[in-house]
């Protein structure tokens, strides 16, 4: 019975059905399910399914957005319980758009998908200078920093940030980069730990980097 409810919740989130996602979350909680189990066994798999379809060009940004909204609805119920129990996500990622660049759609999509994979995501916003990335990574003990740039003219700012983070001694923090003009070759050139071409692949990369 409950297994069915898990599956129904996964389906509801995948389809972006917010009301149903909230209702089923409550059903599971009322049945005594641990909040974390709901996250790990229903919500994360839903976002992972959406991400997989996104990578295969079966769904696109709108479907990803509505699924994330449905997950957010469920998390609004679950998060206070997790917080009260002192349960925090295993990994923390700091994410932002680099200095000189004011675009945030790509960065927001990656943040959303990382949250969907149960990362603790610290979004430091747009036009972010190196110091702010460094401070946020330190304060939050982040394992991962994600840098976004849409403009070719702000790509060099990524190198500045990578250099500054290494110079600040944050050698254990993995750095991943992305954005329309970014390539793997560019990531190699500037010494970033990884590049991902889209928000769904960014989650795979994040898992790979934090596990390394």
């Amino acid at each position: 019975m409950l297994m069915n409810t898990f599956q129904e919740l996964t389906d509801a989130v995948e389809k972006g059905n917010r009301k149903e996602a909230a209702r089923l979350t409550q059903v599971l909680l009322d049945a005594g399910t641990a909040p974390l189990e709901i996250v790990e066994s229903a919500l994360v798999p839903a976002m992972s399914n959406v991400g997989e379809k996104f990578k295969n060009n079966q769904v696109f940004v709108p479907e990803m957005l509505i699924a994330a909204r449905a997950m957010k609805e469920a998390m609004a119920i679950i998060q206070p319980l997790l917080t009260a129990a002192g349960i925090v996500p295993k990994y923390t990622a700091v994410i932002g758009t680099v200095q000189g660049d004011l675009h945030d759609i790509g960065k927001n999509l990656v943040a959303m998908m990382l949250k969907g994979a149960n990362f603790n995501v610290i979004d430091v916003g747009i036009n972010v200078p190196p110091e702010k990335f460094i401070a946020a990574a330190r304060e939050n003990n982040a394992q991962l920093v994600g840098l976004s740039a849409l403009l070719t003219t702000t790509m060099p700012a990524m190198k500045t940030i990578v250099d500054a983070m290494r110079a600040a001694g944050l050698n254990n923090v993995k750095i991943m980069i992305g954005g329309a003009p970014i390539t793997q070759q560019f990531a190699n050139e500037i010494g970033a730990d990884g590049y991902s071409p889209d928000a769904a692949s960014a989650v795979d990369l994040a898992h790979k980097l934090v596990a390394a």
Partner: protein, 293 residues
């Protein structure tokens, strides 16, 4: 309207290339609002327009890509929306002269429409109407709704352009590759839906600009598809100068003016009526392209 469209019926036209990179080359810092230069350094903005005109461009595009009040608010400049758009149109109008056309540039507002985002179609309509009006007041001959991903946003922008009295209205989408010969926008919109909805909304000229990861062969294939799907509606294409690469501390686009010029005959043969350039293009690229038009 008849002016531009009838000219276009007689011969293909050349639109201009990138503005932002030209302003950066003139000292604009990354992250600063380039539109502010419409009033602070109008001579530099006009200088870029002039370089494109000298390169042989028939159409010049106003420096107002991020000119919606929503986009300008990121710089705290939403209060100066009308002034900066008007000035942008005036700078271009002054250079375009009698034989050139000014495209008043309207870019994406920078977020998602409801239900994906918080912006309602009504709110966005009001925002675009205000920008369109300011551009036309400044002397724009037509409005260019460009680099779009969401056909719903195109519909709102085209309706606003129409209401403001813009004739004609040009609409371009940014596509990415989704398979060997399949292209979609970031929102998953197919070329067919993108063209169809822009034309149904009332756009007089439709096409594509910019794009992600598109080779020249991809642009050509995209051009063929757009021409087929647009029917009688003229098609515009403004490709990037290849893909960007890091050289030393700078990002550069790899396609030379000659390489871009070599694409022109094939695009014309495919039926494209307005050719221009997007990211990474300079007056030198457009000058080389002009020779092949």
């Amino acid at each position: 309207m008849n002016d531009l469209l009838s000219a276009l019926a007689a011969r293909p036209l050349l639109c201009d290339g990138a503005m932002g990179t030209q302003l950066l080359a003139n000292g604009l810092h990354a992250g600063e609002c380039g539109m502010l230069w419409n009033t602070e350094y109008p001579e530099i903005v006009s200088g870029v327009h002039e370089a494109y005109r000298r390169a042989g461009c028939n159409l010049v595009t106003t420096n107002t890509f991020e000119g919606s009040s929503f986009a300008l608010a990121r710089h705290g400049l939403d209060g100066r929306m009308a002034e900066l758009n008007r000035a942008g149109a005036q700078n271009a109008r002054q250079i375009a002269g009698d034989s050139g056309w000014v495209l008043g540039d309207i870019g994406p507002f920078g977020d998602f429409l409801e239900p994906l985002g918080d912006m309602t179609a009504e709110q966005l309509h009001t925002i675009y109407c205000a920008q369109a009006q300011a551009l036309l007041e400044g002397g724009a001959d037509a409005l260019l709704v460009e680099t779009m991903s969401d056909p719903a946003e195109v519909e709102v922008a085209v309706a606003a352009a129409k209401e403001s009295g813009s004739l004609p209205i040009v609409t371009t989408y940014a596509f990415q590759k989704n398979g060997d010969t399949e292209f979609r926008t970031m929102m998953g919109t197919s070329v067919e839906e993108a063209m169809g909805r822009a034309i149904a909304a009332g756009a007089h000229i439709v096409g594509a600009n910019c794009g992600t990861g598109l080779s020249f062969a991809d642009y050509l294939e995209l051009a063929r598809q757009m021409v087929r799907l647009a029917g009688k509606t003229p098609v515009i294409l403004q490709p990037n100068a290849g893909s960007p690469q890091m050289v030393g501390e700078k990002t550069v686009y790899c396609a030379t003016p000659e390489e871009m010029a070599a694409l022109v005959p094939a695009l014309l043969q495919a039926g494209v009526r307005i050719i221009g350039g997007c990211c990474g293009t300079s007056p030198a690229h457009l000058a080389a392209m002009s020779c092949r038009l």
